[in-house]
């Protein structure tokens, strides 16, 4: 369908402007194409061929329309005024639409190739075909294994252009889901998990869930969609009581980070003790204290002992118990570590130790060690990502997270970082996530952080972020061939992060309090009763 005519080049070398009388169909973010001759290399050599060159609409201005003076009286429609003056009310609006060229889709490369030629004035601009768009936006066959149906293209009719992401791609290149509270980030993450747990993916997924929002994923079990030939996803929910760190799993710097303001002397003494420990599996605070050298000043020993006991005496540390990786990671299993009862430091420590262990096991496996517990790739989703890799302040987990993000690809560890405060996430960590799902973001600092951390999303799409409604997202990065806006599909399992219905809770609590019987009172306590046994003066 022809929607407009090219009027000339745009401001940048990659833009062109077309004029359209249509005021409804061409919206910012919409895909259009024009046909042009490009030089391509085929089996028959270099030839010139006609190709559909795609472009994304980046802006729209009104070129012609009723003057504002016609709208002086809100009770009078401008076309009523116009018709009196003999101006036809049909076809008045004329729009000047700017589009940014993406290129033609090169099937051999599986990506867009930009011919770097703007269309000539007069060239017809057409609306991109729905089926064609579906096949060029992402590089995955919807029918094949490992495709995640996460929603549909925004601006098109429901169901017109489905969006499928290649699971392999975002699991390998890391993913970030960035959005303000309430705009659907945990919902989107759950949709992704659902897709990854379907029979054709059977992923090994670990969710670090500081708010306990992912419990409802358990309901995947028993839904037909997730079952096939004896396969059914296993969803393990671990509460904070199950989350233990074996003291021997800590590194020296981990240990230092949990101690309360140790002095240099204490640090030196502890380092000596730590280094002299054998590779004990079961370790207690006492074992460490026992290793402190005799030459250490008693006051230092006492202070260190107090610090070690108070730090390692916390519930999260244990001499022997830990979270066995084989319990939480298995193909076709999604484990949710609900950390809502834990303090921030403990959450970070759990993440640090688990990530380090997973990284070590995967490295062992890749090096050919058959004893490795993890002989399959894993995907780890970190909800509240800014807690684990904050931009400022010290967090134990940031170091290992950076290591995994930069090297994890080689070892089959995919990471998904979810956050409502992109500005509070470490820039390096954010920029290592090569695929992005970005939803509504109002805060200017967070918008800036997204601009810095996300490379290939154009200004035009970023400017849409404040206006997105819950469930709408900009999807960009290595997973897709070109950034686009999508509507996230409805979850199959119920959503677990609904806001509290405060008025209902208040009214329930009030009813409860007011229906309780008043406490029994002794007759003597009643007001106005006098003790008649006291003699009168």
């Amino acid at each position: 369908m022809t929607v407009g005519i090219v009027s000339g080049p745009g401001e940048t070398a990659n833009e062109f402007v077309f004029v359209t009388p249509d005021s409804t169909e061409i919206k910012t973010g919409e895909f259009v194409y024009y046909r042009s001759k490009v030089t391509v290399e085929t089996e028959e050599g270099v030839v010139e061929e006609y190709r559909d060159i795609y472009a994304r609409v980046t802006g729209r201005e009104q070129e012609r329309g009723y003057p504002n003076q016609f709208m002086a009286n809100p009770d009078v429609a401008p076309d009523a005024v116009a018709s009196k003056l003999g101006i036809a009310s049909e076809g008045v609006d004329l729009y000047r639409v700017t589009a940014s060229i993406i290129g033609y889709f090169d099937r051999q490369m599986g990506d867009f190739a930009n011919p770097r030629v703007v269309p000539n004035p007069g060239k017809e601009v057409r609306m991109a075909d729905a089926d064609e768009l579906e096949s060029v936006l992402t590089d995955v066959d919807p029918a094949s294994e490992g495709s995640a149906h996460i929603g549909e293209l925004l601006h098109r009719d429901p169901g017109e252009v489905d969006v499928h992401l290649p699971v392999d791609s975002f699991a390998a290149t890391h993913l970030s889901i960035l959005a303000s509270t309430g705009s659907g980030k945990s919902y989107t993450a759950s949709v992704l998990i659902e897709e990854m747990m379907k029979p054709d993916s059977r992923a090994a997924v670990l969710v670090l869930d500081p708010h306990g929002e992912y419990g409802t994923l358990q309901q995947m079990q028993g839904i037909d969609e997730f079952e096939s030939g004896g396969y059914s996803p296993d969803v393990e929910i671990k509460g904070s009581d199950d989350l233990k760190i074996r003291i021997s799993e800590l590194s020296f710097t981990d240990l230092m980070s949990v101690l309360s303001n140790p002095s240099d002397a204490q640090e030196a003494a502890l380092r000596g003790a730590w280094n002299s420990l054998d590779d004990e599996i079961y370790l207690s605070a006492q074992n460490i204290i026992d290793q402190i050298g005799d030459d250490v000043n008693d006051s230092v020993v006492d202070a260190l002992e107090w610090r070690l006991r108070s730090a390692l005496g916390r519930d999260v540390f244990d001499e022997s118990q830990n979270v066995p990786l084989t319990d939480i990671l298995a193909p076709g299993q999604c484990s949710v570590l609900q950390m809502d009862g834990m303090g921030l430091i403990d959450q970070r420590m759990i993440a640090t130790v688990l990530l380090r262990r997973i990284n070590e096991e995967r490295m062992l496996h890749e090096k050919g060690d058959e004893d490795s517990d993890l002989d399959f790739p894993v995907f780890i989703l970190l909800e509240e990502g800014h807690r684990f890799a904050p931009a400022d302040g010290e967090a134990r987990s940031r170091g290992i997270l950076s290591t995994i993000l930069s090297e994890g690809r080689k070892f089959g560890i995919g990471v998904g970082i979810i956050s409502q405060r992109p500005s509070k996430i470490d820039d390096d960590v954010l920029s290592q996530c090569k695929s992005q799902v970005i939803m509504e973001i109002q805060n200017p600092n967070d918008q800036d952080a997204v601009k810095r951390g996300v490379e290939d999303v154009g200004e035009d799409l970023l400017s849409e972020l404040p206006g997105l409604t819950p469930g709408q997202a900009v999807i960009a990065g290595d997973t897709v061939n070109t950034p686009f806006m999508a509507d996230i599909r409805a979850r199959t399992t119920p959503h677990g992060a609904e806001s509290l219905d405060a008025t209902e809770e208040w009214s329930k609590a009030w009813q409860q309090r007011n229906s309780e019987p008043e406490g029994r009172r002794d007759a003597d306590d009643e007001e106005g009763i006098q003790n008649r046994d006291i003699p009168l003066d």
């Binding site: 003057p67 003076q69 016609f70 002086a72 009286n73 009770d75 009078v76 009523a80 005024v81 018709s83 009196k84 003056l85 003999g86």
Partner: protein, 208 residues
């Protein structure tokens, strides 16, 4: 009613363009019932009838300008008598004082049973000719000329602005006032046009 009894205002003596005519107002010498000043006042709607392809069509216009002409002006040499006694001493003397009016054509229409039909506010293809007679348009026909296609129309608006120059705002404002009185139901939309007109022309004057 477009009929013979309507007062004849005058006849075409010149044109400045296809739609801009100069009409010489009839005097007592020309017509027994010559038009009075109210008949050729500023803003008066007039029409001329013309046969086009065998059918009568009226060309409707409005008086937007008046020019007074006195050929005697400047010939104030010695004379035998006071001007009002000229005829006595000079029986062949014809007073040549004239009132000329500028008329802009607004549109054209057919006539059926004395009523305007097939009204159009476009420029007629044919032009008027010298000596074509302009008559005064009745109140009823004024209303008829402005109401067609389901509403009040003022499609000649821009043309008046172009032809009438500095007088356009006044003439259009007068027309809009009349239309508002005649068509109360469309008052608000007409008001928007009038306010816009006043703003544009009057503000332009202030800014200058």
């Amino acid at each position: 009613m477009v009929n013979k009894s309507n007062v004849e205002v005058g006849q075409v003596i010149r044109s400045n363009s296809h739609i801009d005519y100069v009409c010489e107002v009839y005097t007592d010498v020309d017509r027994k019932n010559s038009p009075g000043p109210k008949d050729y006042e500023f803003g008066q709607f007039v029409y001329a009838t013309k046969r086009v392809a065998g059918e009568a069509r009226v060309f409707v216009g409005v008086i937007y300008d008046t020019i007074l002409v006195d050929p005697e002006q400047g010939r104030s040499g010695p004379s035998l008598a006071q001007p009002d006694k000229q005829e006595v001493f000079n029986p062949s003397y014809v007073e040549e004082k004239q009132v000329l009016t500028g008329i802009v054509l607004l549109g054209h229409a057919g006539v059926e049973d004395g009523n305007l039909v097939d009204i159009s506010h476009t420029i007629p293809k044919q032009s008027l000719e010298i000596d074509d007679v302009f008559k005064k348009l009745s109140k009823k026909d004024f209303k008829g000329f402005h109401r067609f296609s389901g509403g009040v129309q003022l499609q000649y608006y821009q043309r008046v602005l172009d032809v009438a120059g500095g007088f356009a705002e006044d003439i259009l404002s007068q027309i809009l006032d009349r239309l508002k009185r005649s068509f109360g139901d469309e008052r608000e939309a007409l008001d928007v046009i009038q306010r816009n007109l006043e703003w544009e022309t009057k503000m332009r004057g202030v800014e200058r």
